[in-house]
Symmetry: C2
Subunit: 341 residues, 2 copies
């Protein structure tokens, strides 16, 4: 069997290019993939030297331009069409690789994925699936920020995409799907949630109804669907609250000599909790609904996290997630204006 | 000076009427208020006997009907116009009291407040202000669930109402107002947030821009404004995440004999954290924008919590919150369809 070919944006993320190049090369060394790196060739070679890994066999798409975090997301198809992100997505579109990974701007990656790789037939909006750690199991939250405004059919699409992903990549046999909402009753929420509820009941998916957002941290279902604004509000509230609680736990344990003694007895448990709730442990966030796998790695990804995200991209290609989604969309029904954002 | 007159719905909440009657009577005994109780007179008298407090001087509005949690909120102005909640709101409207408190259905209280007590001139939507405990200080989140869908002007109204409340009741000199959003930049969010941003800049309020929801648990401003759907999503995610973290803390401390020893050294700190993050410590949630003070007590309110909420209602009347709001709305500008929900 041919090697899976991963294209990586060497210039995206807080720690690019050094940690990105190191992570990509270590993933290449750990598994049998073919690697293409997009970015400033000189900087890529310097980064490879620094971490002591070989660039032999690695294709480099050389460009001095990269997308910055404060750039307008549209730049990736306008003023920065020759950026490392845009050229990587173009290479993916042209079949010169099987999946693309970037730790760069989420907005630009969404625009680039939509306009360069393009959405598959029957999909009105691609969505970002964030894999959330919860008390009991990982939950895929989708859309987590690509589309601020959605129509009910989009939530059915996200449910289909998310169900395939959780099945193929996370091994969940029959993913339970819920709508992120302010209560469990079918009439709760705005028109979006009420109408999506009716559509999901007829979708043939394993729809369990509304997921009260209060219950999501306990892992109430496998796939939670919502518009991107609500998803992003949920995600950031979840992160912010966990961060605030963690800061308080640290202060309590370090308060005085007495608590420091107590801390010795319990710190193992709190370290394990920190690991359990670390979103990075699951890799990056897939942009689902496109014609090929695109994954957003964490902006703060270090080498190890980026290597994990490359491994995740490889699984998406191996497991034929995109092909399975294409078949599923035909079953659950697509939306009308495919191809037109 | 005449006594402040508080009207309480004796039949609302999980612990009604016993805990509600006990809480109301103990608040009456602790401070110099005149009390009116609405509900089944026989049940109210039985509850008073149980807690050993006198009903002397207490006016009772006797009715056998009460609003149940699963009733349609509209019932309060339709099939249950003679319920304890509806009759209490009517008494408030007629000036037979200075403030009304109920631990019953939030939806019914919002409908009843809007249609019986009515919104003041210049206010298109009344909103529920939830006082959130955060790491550093209480934050008023408004609207926290009365209006799923809002227009930009509503957020300016909520900002005005919330600023007056935080100033008069919580003693914040110049409350800082932020929009609950997915980022701090002015272009973030949907049209609602983008347009409200522009209006708030011109409002004369102490507007500090967007409040990234990730930062709200750290107390980034005093008043956070949003539509009621977003507010309710935030509130329930915040509660659910804190609950999940607390459950983990308990499990960690109780895991085995070794951690139980450690727990002895640190449990005081965790108990204090629990108290700090207990929303009930601030009393109930005011329904702001009406012609008289209406407060929603926690559905699970016990006698002490209900007594605190009565004290809060008394402060709202004493501090002339409604009158101050009426003056402020004229300064910051009202919305067009006042009086028509």
């Amino acid at each position: 069997m041919d090697k899976i070919r991963i294209i990586a944006d060497a210039m995206g993320g807080d720690n690019a290019p050094d940690a990105i190049v190191e992570g990509a090369l270590s993933a290449r060394d750990a598994s049998d993939i073919a690697l293409t790196l997009c970015g400033d060739a000189e900087a890529i070679r310097a980064a490879a030297r620094k971490c002591g890994r070989s660039l032999e066999g690695v294709e480099i798409i050389d460009t001095p331009v990269s997308v910055e975090m404060d750039d307008d997301p549209m730049c990736v198809i306008k003023s920065k069409r020759d950026s490392s992100m845009a050229l990587g997505l173009k290479a993916l579109k042209e079949g010169r690789g099987d999946a693309f990974v970037s730790a760069g701007s989420t907005g630009a990656l969404t625009v680039g994925g939509t306009f360069i790789v393009k959405r598959m037939k029957g999909i009105r909006r691609a969505g970002i699936g964030a894999l959330l750690p919860t008390d009991t199991k990982p939950v895929l939250l989708m859309d987590s920020g690509a589309n601020n405004v959605c129509i009910p059919q989009d939530l059915v699409t996200f449910a289909t995409l998310g169900s395939v992903y959780m099945n193929k990549i996370m091994g969940v046999e029959r993913p339970a799907v819920g709508i992120a909402n302010i209560g469990v009753e079918p009439h709760k929420g705005t028109d979006l949630q009420v109408e999506a509820y009716k559509l999901l009941q007829q979708s043939g998916l394993h729809f369990i109804g509304n997921a009260e957002v209060r219950d999501i941290p306990f892992g109430v279902c496998d796939v939670v669907v919502c518009d991107g604004f609500t998803g992003n509000i949920f995600l950031k509230t979840y992160e912010g609250t966990a961060k605030m609680m963690s800061a308080n736990i640290k202060r309590i344990l370090k308060k005085n000599p007495v608590t420091l003694i107590g801390a010795l007895f319990v710190k193992g448990g709190f370290e394990a909790l920190g690991r359990k709730l670390d979103a990075k442990s699951y890799g990056g966030a897939p942009l689902l609904g496109l014609n090929a796998p695109v994954i957003k790695a964490h902006g703060s990804a270090d080498a190890q996290t980026f290597a994990n995200t490359i491994a995740q991209a490889r699984r998406m290609a191996e497991q034929r997630v995109v092909e399975t989604i294409r078949e599923s969309i035909q079953t659950t029904g697509g939306a009308s204006d495919e191809g037109n954002p």
